[in-house]
């Protein structure tokens, strides 16, 4: 069935380093992907999205890369800050899933000052 997974459940970095969070997905029909950030006690917050007709999209300090050949998605955070510490989820949507987002396992990012 559909699944979206992450290679690493935890990631620990020093403040100022760049972070890379990876995600593997199995549904080749997925056409839309989103990265969410969830801080403790809060709901997931949108970070950045990408459509399947793109392979890279940049935001403020964040970049999402999509490799459809190997069904891989990554989130790069530049100059990671302590405020970036959170759980990060990738999510995917298929073309006929009525807006349903399927979420990956989540990666805990910890940024040390």
């Amino acid at each position: 069935g559909e699944s979206v997974g992450l290679h690493l459940p935890t990631l620990s970095v020093q403040e100022g380093d760049n972070s890379i969070i990876n995600c593997a997905y199995s549904n080749s029909a997925s056409d839309y992907f989103i990265w969410y950030k969830q801080e403790s006690g809060k709901g997931p917050q949108f970070i950045i999205d990408i459509r399947s007709n793109m392979d890279k999209r940049q935001g403020q300090r964040v970049t999402v890369l999509l490799n459809k050949t190997v069904k891989h998605l990554s989130l790069q955070i530049a100059a990671t800050q302590p405020g970036d510490s959170a759980v990060y989820f990738c999510a995917e949507k298929g073309t006929t899933s009525y807006g349903k987002l399927t979420f990956g396992q989540g990666t805990i990012l910890t940024v040390h000052p």
Binding site: G41, G43, Y98
Partner: protein, 112 residues
């Protein structure tokens, strides 16, 4: 102004009780959702409503009954609560064609 608000924030109750969680969105979105997040942070969709009509029901026990009185509200009623229902329940809404979801802050349900 909170875009997607749900109440209560915390809910502690005994097994066998019936409880409700309420959700409201002021974004003008047509579609609303309930997601369940387990202790391992895994987020799984439960229900989705579009303009008050149920469009997604992901094999959720009959004890869970969503109700949408209008497109700005989606409530979740749970009968005969069980220990395994303990989780964080998130309401969300979407309105664009891209499928981006806007989440509420969650309701932490603890069944004792």
């Amino acid at each position: 102004d909170t875009a997607v608000s749900q109440t209560p924030k915390y809910l502690v109750t005994q097994m066998g009780n019936d409880k409700s969680i309420k959700c409201e969105q002021n974004l003008g979105h047509d579609t609303m959702y309930w997601y369940k997040q387990d202790s391992k942070k895994f987020l799984k969709i439960m229900f989705s409503y579009n303009n008050k009509e149920l469009i997604i029901n992901e094999t959720v026990p009959n004890r869970f009954s969503p109700k949408s009185p209008d497109k700005a509200h989606l409530n979740l009623h749970i009968n005969s609560l069980e220990l395994g229902d303990s989780a964080v329940y998130f309401c969300a809404s979407s309105g664009g064609t891209d499928g981006r979801l806007f989440f509420g802050s969650g309701t932490q349900l603890s069944v004792l």
